[in-house]
């Protein structure tokens, strides 16, 4: 009897020790989407790397991922479960702004530290409010992105005087994403009459559309120096094919989808198409951290990272691990203080620090990058400090 009691006590003690031994990181992503799928894979890669190197404060990290299915209600329920059932120490992840809006009330209720990898819409920032000092936002807000593009084009025109932009045409998908992009473009580029802006909506192939004839015709009639389309990856090649058929070749042909189709770079049509983004494999040449991330991802998953959500989520894990180490515990107040002092050289080719945004106090990345497809690769052409190639201008005639 006595021996049984001792054995049970030992098992219980071991179980408790094991339970206390792991630092639990909760995460939500849309796992059926490439952004969420690769984001969660990269986060697991970072967790494995850190654990292999001895963990944090002598404890192993444990990543608990819940699929938010790109639905606000599922995302909110995931936060509830992570906090109340899984007892996570902090939360990372996220992609969609709509899901984030649904999660904000649950996040506010529990006040756990959140390091968000997604949510670009500033409506999320408004919903969080200025008091959400536990919220650390890695992804740039929509106004950050717009401002960085305007700055980028100004600097490119200054450095390369042959690049001249006066008229901009935006073809935008008719949903909330495209409309918000058009509104931001008008505000940021149209200010003080610096640029002339026009645009037209189209129905994205991702939503059952895919006929770009009328929008390209409107663009061709406008004769823009910069043609920008804001849609989804499904629109990328069909729109180029129709532009070629219509002999529409603006000075700059630029796409801003969240991701690109498989093998886009292998199509001859992709040559010299510009894009907005946060990361590309070419950054490996200028950033050893990017190369370490990339090589590790390819070795572990036998696939290339196809979306910047992969290095962003990888960064989120390293940022929280570093903060826990400096805080000496997972106590929320100590963790917030440590996160505010973050200085992390990320695989995105830039050092992440947290500074105030318009409303929230802890905004990580504020810049996007301007890239260009050259010989099948995405090359960074701005910011110049992480540039991997010079811009090819103008976009060649068909």
């Amino acid at each position: 009897m006595k021996r049984t009691f001792v054995a049970l006590a030992l098992i219980a003690a071991a179980a408790m020790a094991f339970g206390q031994g792991t630092i639990k990181i909760g995460a939500t992503w849309p796992l059926a989407d490439i952004t969420g799928k690769q984001g969660s894979m990269a986060a697991q890669q970072a967790v494995d790397e850190i654990n292999k190197a001895g963990g944090v404060l002598g404890r192993q990290l444990e990543l608990i991922v819940i699929d938010d299915e790109l639905k606000a209600d599922k995302g909110a329920a995931a936060i509830e479960k992570l906090v109340t059932v899984d007892n996570v120490d902090l939360i990372i992840g996220g992609m969609s702004s709509g899901v984030a809006l649904g999660q904000v009330p649950a996040m506010k209720k529990y006040g756990k530290v959140v390091v968000a990898t997604g949510a670009a819409s500033s409506t999320v920032e408004a919903a969080l409010g200025a008091d959400a000092d536990w919220y650390f936002h890695l992804h740039p807000w929509d106004y950050n992105q717009g401002a960085s593009y305007a700055q980028g084009w100004d600097e490119i025109q200054k450095k390369y005087p042959n690049v001249k932009i006066k008229k901009i045409f935006l073809a935008y998908e008719e949903g909330a994403f495209g409309k918000a992009s058009f509104d931001q473009t008008k505000i940021l580029f149209g200010a003080e009459g610096r640029y002339q802006i026009d645009g037209a909506p189209f129905k994205s192939a991702a939503l059952g559309g895919g006929d770009y004839g009328s929008v390209l015709e409107a663009a061709k009639m406008y004769k823009p120096d910069l043609f920008l389309w804001a849609g989804y990856d499904a629109d990328a090649l069909p729109m180029l094919e129709q532009a070629k058929a219509m002999k529409f070749s603006p000075g700059i042909y630029l796409g801003a989808p969240p991701g690109w189709p498989v093998g886009f770079g292998t199509s001859r049509l992709s040559e010299n198409v510009m894009l907005y983004g946060m990361w590309a494999p070419s950054i490996n040449e200028v950033s050893p951290v990017s190369k370490k991330f990339y090589d590790g991802f390819v070795a572990k998953y036998k696939a290339e990272p196809a979306t910047y959500f992969a290095p962003l989520s990888y960064s989120a894990v390293y940022i929280v691990a570093d903060a826990i180490k400096r805080a000496g515990s997972t106590d929320t107040a100590a963790l917030i203080k440590a996160l505010k002092e973050t200085k992390y050289e990320s695989p995105l080719g830039q050092t992440v620090t947290f500074t105030p945004a318009k409303i929230i106090k802890n905004q990580g990345i504020k810049n996007q990058k301007i890239l260009q497809w050259q010989r099948g690769r995405q090359e960074v052409i701005w910011p110049f400090e992480s540039a991997t190639a010079k811009p090819v201008y103008p976009f060649p005639k068909w």
Partner: protein, 306 residues
């Protein structure tokens, strides 16, 4: 009186076409091209609905599955989709036959709601299977001929999408010949009109349903193969076309295959007409449903008067 009215309508239509051609020829060009795509996807669904009397809510997903199959065949062998459509159509015909025997056949006498739930379930199954196998990332193969164009003065426009108009017309003519000139086709028509009567005169109704379902699956498989020349593919690519196809069939009237083509032309040209104006560019979906409601209401009112 009726003859005079028909002439007036024909003249008004002719004047409208000439007016649009002079003002903005691309409205007609892109409108017809869109109509070709709508019709060639909707016609196989119309065939099933007209004869088997089943609304196949997995119709778009059948096309999506065929597109992925074509994509794999083309990637593996370097074959052109127009060649790959032959084996793909054979596979989708066999797939359709299997689906009919295993699922649809069991639900033929069930309430319509059960049939809808069954095919809706098939749609979800196919979408999720594609998601697991290929992820949600889109895929597209570029073909130079897709960007073929014609210049008339300062106007340059793509002509490749007229392929879909040709496919739609070929489907209408081919199905008409099949249904009116062949014994099997006549039997299918009879089963579609009155399955009990057809069975009484010795037609194997079940075999006819299986054949029609397989034929429609082969046609949608062919469309899936050609579809990848024009569009990117991803697991959810088919579902919007299911709803659009169903609405076009409702507009044309069940069993009216040439009517699907006519409805598609009306829809494609109307959509592109609105897209030509700055203020109405985003109204394409609205015009779609307005046209459907108008046509169905008009038909109902005429039916009541008759």
């Amino acid at each position: 009186m009726a003859n005079k009215r028909n002439w007036t309508v024909a003249l008004a239509l002719g004047a409208a076409v000439i007016g649009i051609l002079v003002w903005r020829p691309t409205v007609l060009i892109y409108g017809l091209q869109a109509a070709g795509i709508y019709a060639s996807i909707a016609i196989p669904m119309g065939l099933i609905l007209g004869i088997v009397h089943i609304v196949n809510l997995a119709h778009g997903e059948f096309m999506m599955a065929a597109s992925y199959l074509t994509y794999m065949v083309c990637r593996a062998t370097g074959m052109d989709p127009f060649l790959a459509l032959v084996p793909v159509a054979a596979v989708t015909a066999a797939f359709g036959f299997g689906i009919y025997k295993l699922t649809i056949r069991q639900a033929l006498k069930a309430p319509e709601l059960n049939q809808l739930i069954l095919t809706f379930g098939l749609a979800i199954l196919l979408t999720q299977a594609a998601n697991l196998a290929f992820t949600s990332q889109t895929r597209k193969i570029s073909f130079d001929y897709v960007s073929a164009s014609v210049d008339i003065g300062e106007l340059s426009f793509g002509i490749y999408n007229f392929v879909f108009v040709a496919i739609a017309v070929a489907m209408v003519v081919g199905l008409r010949l099949f249904l009116t000139r062949t014994t099997t086709g006549k039997a299918a028509l009879a089963v579609g009109q009155n399955p009990r009567g057809a069975a009484i005169v010795g037609i194997d109704v079940d075999r006819t349903y299986a054949l029609v379902f397989s034929l429609a699956s082969a046609l949608v498989g062919m469309m899936g193969a050609v579809f990848i020349t024009r569009s990117s593919i991803f697991p959810a690519v088919g579902s919007p076309f299911t709803m659009k196809s169903f609405c076009l069939i409702a507009m044309a009237g069940v069993g009216n295959i040439p009517g699907i083509l006519a409805s598609s032309v009306l829809l494609g040209v109307s959509e592109n007409f609105l897209k030509a104006f700055r203020g109405t560019r985003g109204w394409a979906d609205i015009v779609f449903f307005v046209l459907i409601i108008t046509v169905i209401l008009g038909r109902s009112i005429r039916g009541k008067k008759a």
